[in-house]
Amino acid sequence: MNVAVCVKQIPSAETPLAFDPTSKTLVRTGPLVLDESDSFSVEMALRLVEQSGGGDVTLISVVPDGETQGLRTALAMGAARAVLVSDPLLSGLDALGTAKVLAAMVRRLDADLVLAGTESSDGYTGTVPVQMAELLNYPAVSFVRHVEISGDHLVTERQTEEGFEEVTCPLPAVVSVTAGVVEVRYPSFKGIMAAKSKPVEVLTVADLGLEADSLGIAGARQEVIALEQAELRPSGEIITDSGDAFETIVERLVSWNIISEHQ
C-alpha cells in the first residue's frame, strides 16, 4: 500500500508566535520544523505500509519558502521521499487554497491512502484534510484514533463527542489522525543519515497546472482586520501551600455556593 502523508512545517516551539502588523498574518520566519501533530500520521503511515507488506510513504508539504528541515525529520523516520510545493506566491494562502495545492499533489501520485493531522499546531483550522478529500471526491474519515487495513478497505475508529464510532472506508481515502494516538518512533542515526540522500522533489504552483487566482491568493478572500488585547480576568489571589491551602479552597467553594456553609 502506498500512503501519502500531508506534513506541515511550522516555526519551532521556541519561536514566539507573532503576527505581522501590516499583513496581520502569522509570522513564519526562522527555521521550520515538522509539526508534531503530523508526526502521528507519519508514524501511522509507516506502520500501515509495514502491515500491508509493500509500498512506501511519500510526504507532501506546502510552504512559501523552500524549507525542507521538517521533511528531513519525517524522512529520517522512514518515509521514502517527499514532494514539496514551494512558491513565494503561496504566502498568505488560506486553508482552502492549501487544500487545493495538496489535492493537486495527490493527483500526481499513486497513493491508496492520504493521511493528515486533524489540526495543525499553528493554524488549527482543522479543515484542510476534509477540504482536500472533497476536491478529490474521496471519502474521508476525520478525528481517527485507530486504523487497520482489512482487504481492500480500512477499518477505523473515529472519535466523537461522547465516545467513538467504528467506520469502514474504501480506498482511496483521506484519513485525519488525532494527536497522541500512536507512539512516534525516534529517527535512528541510520535513518538520519539515509534521510540526507532521499529524494525531495520541489514544484511550483505552475508545475501543478494551478493558477494563483484559483487559489484565492491574488486578492485573498478573507482578511484579519484587527488584533486587540482581550479583556483579561482581574488577577486573583495566589497563595503558597504550607499545609492548609485546602481550607482556603473550601472557603472559596462555600463563598461561591458550591458547597453549603454549615459544617
Binding site: K24, L96, E134, G236, T240, D241, V250, W256, I258
Partner: protein
C-alpha cells in the same frame, strides 16, 4: 436585511445546545434565520427551533450509516443553487460540523473562518472574532470575496435566548447521492458513559493534568468531582498518555466548558487548554510551578504539591459531607 443559515445538529433526538446558540447569534444579525438539519421525521422535532426565531428548517432526512459530512454538504450545496443565497452559514465546531463546513467550502469554493467566538456587523459586513494566543489577543476577521461566508463557531460562545417564537416550518429536501465521497460507513457507535453530570453542562469541573504523575492518581480527581457534584476533566497531555478517554479533554481540540467553578490540578495552562476553560465564572488552580500560565487566569492560585493539597481537600469535603448527612 440579512439571511443566515445555521447547521442544526442533533444527537439522540435532541438538538444540540450549540445549534441553539447559533440561532441566538444569527437572530441578532439577520432578519431571516433558517436551519439545515438531518435525521428522520420521528427522530428530531426541528419545529422547536422556532422558539429561537428560526423560521424554516430544511431537513435532509435520515443519513443511515453515512457519515454526516458528505451527505449534508451535498444537500446544502444543492440548496444554494435553488434558493436565494444566505449572507452567511454558521456551523458549530463539532466533529461533524467541521466536516460539513470543510466539504461545503471546497464544493462552493468559499473559504471558512474557524474558531469563531463572536460575530458582529460592521459596515454591513459580518465580522468574526477569534481568540488567539491563549485568549490574550482577539483577532477580528471577515470574508472579502463573494458567496456566503462559512463561520465555524465554538460552543458556548453565544446565549441561546429563547424568545418563544412560533414553531418553525419543516421542509423535507432530497439531495443527490454524493457518490464516492460518501463511501465511508459507520458500522457501530460507542458511547462512553460516566456517572454524574456531563462535562459540557456541569456546574463544577475538576480537571487534572500531567502533574498528577500517574493514571492511578486520576481517581482523586474523580473523587473530588463526585464530592462537589461536578464532572472530571483533563488536559490533553493525560488523554494522549492514555490515562483518561478523549471525551474528558478540555481545550482547543476537546470540549469548551463554562462552569461556575473550574478546578485545575497539575495543569500548566497551555494556550490550547485555556481556550477551553478561561470563561469559567471562577477558577482555582493548584500547581507547584509559580510561573505556570494557569495562574494568570485563576481567582485562587495555590502554589504547592497537589499530592498534598488534593487528598486533604477530599478529606475535608468528605468530613463535611458525612456531617451534613447526619444533621
Amino acid at each position: 436585511m440579512k439571511t443566515i443559515w445555521i447547521l442544526a445538529e442533533a444527537r439522540n433526538g435532541r438538538i444540540l445546545p450549540v445549534a441553539e446558540e447559533l440561532a441566538g447569534a444569527a437572530r441578532q444579525l439577520a432578519s431571516t434565520v433558517e436551519a439545515v438539519g438531518w435525521g428522520g421525521a420521528e427522530a428530531v422535532d426541528f419545529a422547536t427551533l422556532g422558539t429561537y426565531d428560526v423560521s424554516r428548517v430544511f431537513r435532509v432526512g435520515d443519513l443511515g450509516d453515512s457519515l454526516v459530512g458528505p451527505r449534508v454538504a451535498a444537500a446544502v450545496g444543492e440548496m444554494l443553487e435553488s434558493h436565494p443565497k444566505p449572507d452567511a452559514i454558521l456551523v458549530g465546531a463539532t466533529y461533524d460540523g467541521r466536516d460539513v463546513a470543510a466539504r461545503l467550502s471546497a464544493k462552493i469554493d468559499v473559504p471558512v473562518l474557524t474558531n469563531v467566538i463572536d460575530l458582529n456587523e460592521i459596515d454591513d459586513a459580518l465580522v468574526s472574532t477569534h481568540a488567539v494566543f491563549g485568549g490574550t489577543v482577539n483577532a477580528t476577521a471577515r470574508f472579502t470575496g463573494s458567496g456566503p461566508g462559512i463561520f465555524v463557531v465554538r460552543p458556548k460562545s453565544f446565549e441561546r435566548g429563547d424568545t418563544g417564537g412560533a414553531a418553525a416550518e419543516v421542509v423535507d429536501i432530497v439531495a443527490a447521492d454524493p457518490g464516492p465521497s460518501d463511501g465511508a460507513r459507520v458500522v457501530s457507535r460507542h458511547v462512553l458513559t460516566q456517572d454524574g453530570p456531563s462535562l459540557d453542562s456541569a456546574e463544577v469541573v475538576v480537571a487534572g493534568g500531567r502533574g498528577l504523575g500517574s493514571k492511578e492518581n486520576y481517581r482523586l480527581i474523580e473523587e473530588l468531582a463526585h464530592l462537589v457534584h461536578g464532572a472530571p476533566g483533563a488536559s490533553r497531555a493525560i488523554v494522549d498518555a492514555g490515562w483518561v478517554p478523549y471525551s474528558h479533554q478540555v481545550g482547543q481540540t476537546g470540549k469548551t466548558v463554562k462552569p461556575e467553578v473550574y478546578l485545575a490540578f497539575g495543569i500548566s495552562g497551555a494556550t490550547q487548554h485555556l481556550v477551553g476553560m478561561k470563561d469559567a465564572k471562577h477558577i482555582i488552580a493548584v500547581d507547584r510551578d509559580p510561573s505556570a500560565p494557569i495562574f494568570r487566569v485563576a481567582d485562587l492560585g495555590v502554589v504547592g504539591d497537589l499530592a498534598q493539597v488534593l487528598p486533604k481537600l477530599i478529606e475535608a469535603l468528605r468530613a463535611r459531607g458525612s456531617h451534613e448527612s447526619t444533621n
